[in-house]
C-alpha cells in the first residue's frame, strides 16, 4: 500500500511540475490557449474515464453535460442575472440531476444498447440547445460573460492556463483518491464481473449511477471553464462529434488510467494543431486517429507503453 501512495503522489507531483514548467517553453499566448484546451479536455476525459475505464460503462453522449456546463454559465449571467461563479455551480448541479434521472433507466442497458442510448441522449440535448435560440443563440452560439471572483476579473490566456491547470490538478487528485476506497473497488468489480459484484453485496445499479453522475459533473465543470475562457460558446460543444472526441481521448490514453486520459487529451488536442494547416482536414485526421488507435493500440497508450516497458525489463 505504501507503493500505491507513492504512485499517487508521484503522478500529482509530476503533473504539477509539468504545469509549472511548460510556460517557460511557450513563445506566445497561442500556446497558452492550446495548453488550457488540453487541461480542460483532460478534465472532462478524467471524469468520463471513471465511468468508462473504472465502472466499465460507455457514454457516447457525454458532450451533453459539457454543453450544459458551458451554456449554464452563458445563459445564467446573460439572461437571468446570476453571478458567473454561481452559474458554474448551478450548471454542475443541473448536470448531476440530469445524469441521476436519466442514468437510472439508461444504465440498465449494456453493450451497444447502452452506447446508442447515451448517443441518443447526447444528440437530444444538443438539439434542444441548438433549437431554443431565444435562450441559447441557436446554431451560431452566444457570448459568455467573463468570470469575476471577489472583484477579480478572470481573463487572459495566461490566467486561464493556471486556472484550468489548477482545476486539472484537483480533478486528478480526486480521481486518484477513488482507487483505494470501497467505491473505487466497487466500480472496478462491477466492471470485471457484474454478477459476482452483486453476489458479494455491491448494489450495482447504485454504483453505476454514481459513476455516471461523477462523470457528468466533471464534464460540466470543464465545459463551464471553456466557456469562461473563450468568452463564447456554440452548440458544437454539446454535439456528437465532441462526444466522440472525448471517448477517443479516454480510450486512446488507456481505459482506467488517469494519466492516460491526460496524455490522450494532449495528443488529440495538439496533434491536429501540429499537423494540419487547414481546418478542413481535421475530420479526416480525427477519423484516422480513431481507427488506427482502436486497431493497433486497443488498450490505449499508457497500458500499451507500460506493457512494452515491462517486457523489455524482463528480457
Amino acid at each position: 500500500m505504501g507503493a500505491r501512495l507513492n504512485q499517487r503522489f508521484m503522478i500529482l507531483a509530476i503533473l504539477a511540475v509539468v504545469i509549472a514548467v511548460l510556460p517557460f517553453l511557450f513563445p506566445s499566448s497561442y500556446y497558452f490557449r492550446v495548453a488550457s484546451l488540453v487541461w480542460v479536455s483532460a478534465l472532462a476525459a478524467i471524469g468520463l474515464n471513471i465511468l468508462m475505464g473504472q465502472a466499465g460503462q460507455v457514454s457516447l453522449g457525454h458532450a451533453a453535460f459539457f454543453g450544459i456546463g458551458a451554456y449554464a454559465v452563458a445563459i445564467g449571467p446573460t439572461h437571468l442575472g446570476i453571478p458567473p461563479w454561481a452559474a458554474l455551480l448551478i450548471g454542475a448541479a443541473l448536470s448531476a440531476v440530469l445524469a441521476y434521472l436519466v442514468g437510472r433507466p439508461i444504465l440498465r442497458l449494456k453493450g451497444h444498447y447502452l452506447a446508442i442510448a447515451t448517443l441518443g441522449l447526447g444528440v437530444l440535448v444538443a438539439l434542444v440547445i441548438s433549437t431554443e435560440s431565444r435562450w441559447t443563440g441557436g446554431p451560431d452560439g452566444m457570448p459568455v460573460e467573463r468570470l469575476t471572483l471577489f472583484g477579480w476579473r478572470v481573463s487572459g490566456s495566461y490566467t486561464w492556463y493556471w486556472v484550468t491547470g489548477a482545476l486539472l490538478l484537483v480533478g486528478t487528485w480526486i480521481a486518484l483518491n477513488l482507487d483505494e476506497t470501497p467505491t473505487g473497488r466497487a466500480f472496478r468489480a462491477l466492471h470485471d464481473s457484474e454478477v459476482a459484484a452483486q453476489v458479494v453485496g455491491v448494489d450495482v445499479a447504485r454504483f453505476k449511477l454514481q459513476a455516471f453522475v461523477i462523470a457528468a459533473v466533471y464534464a460540466s465543470i470543464a465545459g463551464s471553464a471553456l466557456a469562461f475562457m473563450n468568452g463564447f460558446i456554440n452548440p458544437d460543444q454539446a454535439g456528437f462529434l465532441h462526444s466522440v472526441e472525448l471517448v477517443t481521448i479516454v480510450v486512446l490514453g488507456g481505459l482506467g488510467s488517469v494519466v492516460g486520459s491526460i496524455i490522450g487529451a494532449a495528443v488529440l488536442v495538439t496533434l491536429p494543431q501540429a499537423l494540419t494547416i487547414f481546418a478542413e482536414y481535421e475530420h479526416l485526421l480525427l477519423g484516422l486517429i480513431i481507427i488506427v488507435s482502436m486497431i493497433f493500440m486497443r488498450n490505449g497508450i499508457v497500458p500499451s507503453l507500460s506493457g512494452l516497458l515491462l517486457r523489455r525489463a524482463r528480457s
Binding site: 500500500m1 476506497t181 470501497p182 470485471d192 464481473s193 452483486q198 458479494v200 453485496g201 448494489d203 450495482v204
Partner: protein, 260 residues
C-alpha cells in the same frame, strides 16, 4: 436451527422446466450436497437461491425471513454468499483486492469521503486490507496477494473465490463445483477448507460431481434429475438408494462411493 429453507422451487426457460418442485433445508454448521447428472438443474437452483434468476414458483426463507425474489446484493446483506462454477473472479484486480471487495458489506461506503480521501477512509482501507490478507492466508494464497487474479492458476482462483465469499462473514455459503478441475491434492485441500468453514457455524450447500468428496464431507445429500428431486438423505442412504444408482451413480459410481 434451519437457516436456509427452499420450498417447491420451480422455473422454466421457454417451455423447458429446468427446476420443477425442489425443496431442501440446511442448518448452521451443516453441509448439504446437491448432486445429479449434467442438466439436472443444480446451477439453475443455485442461481435462484442466490437471487440471479427469479423462480416462477416456490419460496426461499433465510432464517425464517421470506427472501423470495430479492436481488443478489440484498441477499448478500442477509448473509448469503456463493461461488461460481465458471469462475467469476475480478480478473484485473489483485487477489487481495478481490477479497477486499468481498468485504464490501462490512465497510462504510459514502461517496464524498471517498472522493476526498478522509483519514477515516484511509484507516478503514487498512483494516479491510488486513482482513483480506488474513483470509488469503486461510486459503493458502497469501504469497500471491498482489498478483492480478487473472494470472493465477485455476486451483488458486477457486480458492480465491471461496476466500472472497467468506469475506462477508456469511451465514450461508453456496459452493458451485468448488473442486471442478482440481487434482487429488487440491481436492483434499478444498475438502479440508469446507469442513473448517462448516465447523465455524456456516451452513454450506455444495454442488459437486466428485463423489468421493461428496460422500466424505456431506451431512445430507439431495439428488436431482432433470430438475426434479430424486432422493434425499444421509450419504449412506443415498448411496444405497436403487433409484439413485440407476439414474446417476451406475455400478462404477457405487463402487467409488463405497470406497469413500
Amino acid at each position: 436451527m434451519t437457516i436456509l429453507r427452499a420450498t417447491d422451487i420451480g422455473i422454466s426457460f421457454g417451455g423447458v422446466k429446468a427446476v420443477d418442485g425442489v425443496s431442501f433445508s440446511v442448518s448452521s454448521g451443516q453441509i448439504l450436497s446437491i448432486i445429479g447428472p449434467n442438466g439436472a438443474g443444480k446451477t439453475t437452483l443455485f442461481n435462484i437461491v442466490s437471487g440471479i434468476y427469479a423462480a416462477s414458483r416456490g419460496t426461499i426463507h433465510l432464517a425464517d425471513e421470506d427472501v423470495t425474489g430479492l436481488s443478489p446484493h440484498k441477499l448478500a446483506a442477509r448473509g448469503l454468499s456463493r461461488t461460481f462454477q465458471n469462475l467469476q473472479i475480478f480478473q484485473r484486480m489483485t487477489a487481495c483486492e478481490n477479497v477486499m471487495v468481498g468485504r464490501h458489506l462490512r465497510e462504510k461506503c459514502s461517496l464524498l469521503p471517498a472522493l476526498f480521501r478522509t483519514p477515516s477512509v484511509t484507516r478503514q482501507n487498512r483494516e479491510t486490507r488486513t482482513a483480506a490478507l488474513d483470509l488469503l492466508a486461510y486459503v493458502g494464497l497469501k504469497d500471491v496477494a498482489n498478483v492480478p487474479a487473472g494470472s493465477l492458476p485455476y486451483g488458486a482462483c477457486k480458492r480465491l473465490e471461496i476466500a472472497r465469499a467468506l469475506a462477508a462473514e456469511p451465514r450461508v455459503l453456496l459452493l458451485d463445483e468448488p473442486a471442478a478441475g482440481c487434482n487429488a491434492v487440491e481436492t483434499e485441500e478444498i475438502d479440508h477448507l469446507i469442513r473448517q468453514v462448516a465447523d465455524r457455524g456456516v451452513a454450506v450447500v455444495l454442488v459437486e460431481h466428485d463423489m468421493k468428496l461428496v460422500m466424505k464431507i456431506s451431512d445430507r445429500i439431495l439428488v436431482l434429475e432433470r430438475g426434479r428431486p430424486l432422493a434425499e438423505g444421509t450419504p449412506r442412504e443415498v448411496r444405497d438408494d436403487p433409484k439413485v444408482l440407476e439414474a446417476y451413480l451406475g455400478q462404477h459410481g457405487a463402487r467409488e462411493a463405497a470406497r469413500a
